[in-house]
Chain length 465, copies 2
């Protein structure tokens, strides 16, 4: 991955400062009440919190980690503004002493994390935060929110890209993705997983994701007839994509063919878009019509309620479709709209920590994940204690020290996209596939970590009684 200079880092931090400021109160109230209690009790020793997903959704063979950049930016910049303090005072649960401490609050901890674009499996720490207990506690809500969102969406869009087998996939999701923040982060997460472009202009501006678009039915409808709409649009945008299903798809295509005859060499239309009806049948007919009119270079672009399942079906049945616009199903990850993500205390004051709540195990202490390969192929992972050494690639790297981002953590978007592509390429084919594998990817826990877990559990079980 391409590293940046310190100057770049500072520039980036400054820019981000403006983006993620004012978010200190984007937290659950209990983080703040617990934080006050920790201070009152003098419980400010170092804690380790581990962020992981307890189990993969039924239809995900792995997740693509995403959201680290947002989190590090937040950690670097979190602070309480005057009006935050006044609002907290109005709640009536906080002492003046605590509130005045909040004025000087900064996050000064260390962070170890998987780089964005790393494939990740159940129970593997995506990120570990090492910081004074109150600091590590208050940042829980924001960290979970962002890693959850961005990992969820990158993992879903990977499947759509995979189903398209090299055909272009474009993000059309903004109108139904859940809110402003999600739509922007989605465009970035999708791009990391291999989506070619987004329709969201602000995401293009903010993140440098390529932007693209076609035309809407309203443009056709507002003209006196479809043919004049096509003619007018092509005057403005000769190499555009024309939408042909507003009234009757095949009639629409015929009008484009007529236009090509009228314009002759000036006809540069790149593609036609189908947005309704039986896309297999229509695409075959449309391809035939275009080819018969010697418009072999005009591509067919499909949209309208597509997901990885319908795209796979179209591709495998040989539908002559060159690209897909995918909106809602990808944008809300509709077959798995959430992950069972957790941010759990696993060490405090040098002691491993667990909970024993039914069905929600925690691995204690600071950890590392090694990915083990045979030749070029990754074959299994092992979760180990941080100080263990194993053959294989360690996946958690230091990305923040004493509250400042390390240069390794500043990676440009295209490098993340390339890294993700490489990492996914190394996975076994059954895991890369969108079908459920007979054998899931093996993730083991080292003997030392397992022994440590047992030891902490036994100590707890004794003390509980």
């Amino acid at each position: 991955m391409a590293l940046k200079t310190t100057e770049d880092i500072n520039k980036k931090s400054l820019k981000h400062n403006l983006q993620n400021s004012g978010l200190a109160l984007f937290t659950d109230l209990y983080e703040l009440t617990m934080m006050q209690a920790y201070f009152e009790e003098g419980m400010t020793q170092d804690a380790v919190f581990s962020l992981f997903v307890r189990r993969l959704p039924e239809r995900r063979n792995f997740l693509l980690s995403c959201g680290l950049d947002t989190v590090l930016d937040y950690l670097e910049n979190i602070c309480f503004e005057d009006d935050d303090i006044s609002y907290l005072a109005s709640i009536g649960k906080f002492s003046d002493h605590f509130l005045s401490m909040l004025r000087d609050f900064r996050f000064t901890g260390d962070v170890y994390a998987m780089p964005e674009g790393t494939p990740v499996f159940a129970n593997e720490p995506i990120m570990e935060i090492v910081a004074s207990l109150p600091q590590a506690q208050i940042v829980e809500t924001f960290i979970m929110n962002q890693i959850h969102l961005q990992t969820l969406l990158a993992s879903k869009s990977y499947r759509v890209v995979t189903a398209a087998q090299g055909r272009t996939v474009v993000d059309f999701g903004t109108r139904r993705i859940h809110g402003i923040d999600a739509a922007l982060k989605a465009a970035r997460a999708f791009y990391i997983s291999g989506v070619a472009a987004t329709s969201n202009v602000l995401a293009g501006k903010k993140y440098g994701v390529p932007v693209t678009g076609t035309m809407a039915h309203s443009y056709i409808q507002s003209h006196e007839d479809e043919a004049s709409a096509y003619y007018a649009f092509v005057q403005q945008y000769p190499d555009t994509v024309l939408l042909v299903d507003t009234y009757d798809t095949l009639e629409g295509v015929q009008k484009v063919i007529n236009l090509s005859k009228t314009l002759g060499k000036k006809f540069k239309v790149k593609a036609l878009r189908l947005d309704s009806g039986d896309l297999y049948e229509l695409s075959c007919k449309v391809r035939q019509m275009l080819d018969n009119a010697f418009l072999n270079k005009v591509e067919i672009f499909a949209s309208g309620g597509l997901d990885e399942g319908s795209i796979e079906k179209l591709v495998s049945s040989g539908a002559p479709i060159d690209g897909f616009g995918v909106g809602t199903s990808m944008g809300v990850s509709n077959d798995a709209p959430d992950l069972d993500i957790a941010y759990k205390l696993c060490l405090y004051a040098g002691k491993g920590r667990l909970k024993l709540s039914i069905g929600k195990p925690v691995l204690p202490g600071r950890k590392q994940v090694f990915r083990i390969s045979e030749g070029k192929q990754d074959i299994r992972d092992i979760i180990v204690c941080a100080d263990e050494n194993f053959q294989g690639r360690p996946l958690l790297i230091p990305v923040m020290e004493k509250g400042r981002r390390l240069p390794e953590s500043i990676v440009n978007l295209n490098s993340i996209r390339n890294y993700a592509k490489e990492q996914v390429a190394n996975l076994p084919s059954r895991i890369k596939s969108i079908a459920k594998p007979e054998l899931p990817y093996p993730v083991d826990v080292s003997q030392a970590l397992s022994d440590y877990q047992k030891k902490v559990e036994e100590e707890l079980t004794i003390s509980v009684k």
Copy 2:
């Protein structure tokens, strides 16, 4: 609903100005390319766009409209900043002339909408925008995004509140709701539908939603033992809620009982929280233990993967649970994470507009929805042409004129919540229920509107050929 003075309105607009600024580029690229084409073609006459949901999700008997305030604020404030213009210039699709027009762009149209908190059914316009075609086009993406999100979430949380049958429901969703914007808007939408409070502190600050919280497992884990954690927390927050499932639920409860004996009259703990295991069985046992210890006033609060289904089951089986913390399932509306929402051109330059795309009908022209009651109960709706008069309550009211909010559109949050409660109360019980009704709520289209639709369709069908 309580109206505000002009001073309030101005204050509110100013505040909002800061919130929704910089969002002009939060739009699909095609809105901008179409907009430029409209200007070039001189197509700037008035258009009407209608926002509606094509069909209700399987498990929704109605939707609760939400998001209008955000949309009107956006429309009042949308403008292109210098850096927006520079970014657009860099795309290479826009003329200098168009970009300089964008500098002066303001939305100056009219808006008719259902007030937030109005129950709405399939195909009913939630909002109609009347504006110069380029203006009405460019705002499509943002309007859809926000009405979709907020209506989706208010409609889901209504079901959770209904299942709880008067027991408190609290929003614990922030960590897994899709992003920052969605989590904030969720807290507001949930409150409108009857949720009592949110854990999201920033939502409390921004919208005045009551904030609340308990304690996390990490607080218990970081202490040497559970009993000392309880003791320490109660020193800070005597009337708090204690989490009892970190190690062993019933042992945890016993420790709270012991604490009550130690503290005597100083014991003010309000409730215990169960967050895992069989909540029915545990709540019965815990209630028994508390009652036996004369702690009848200590309530039981449950959380952990709850949704309207599991809550209904607990309530109907008589589980002694007094309140529910609901997170992910409500926060991502997991059984229906999207709505088939559409924003469609239905009039331009005085002519009704349609599209004929398969399965996606549009009702032409400006419309109104009348809700017809018998006694106190609403029995059916009828969608009519805007100039028709019907018996019943018209649901679409003018909320913006020439780009400025009308006083009727400025409503405080508690008034919206009360209005929603009243409106829902008037619905037939089968529709209010979370079960699927044998007979859906009837929504008709008036003869005049139906005739108009046929006429526009016929004209189109002729012109298509």
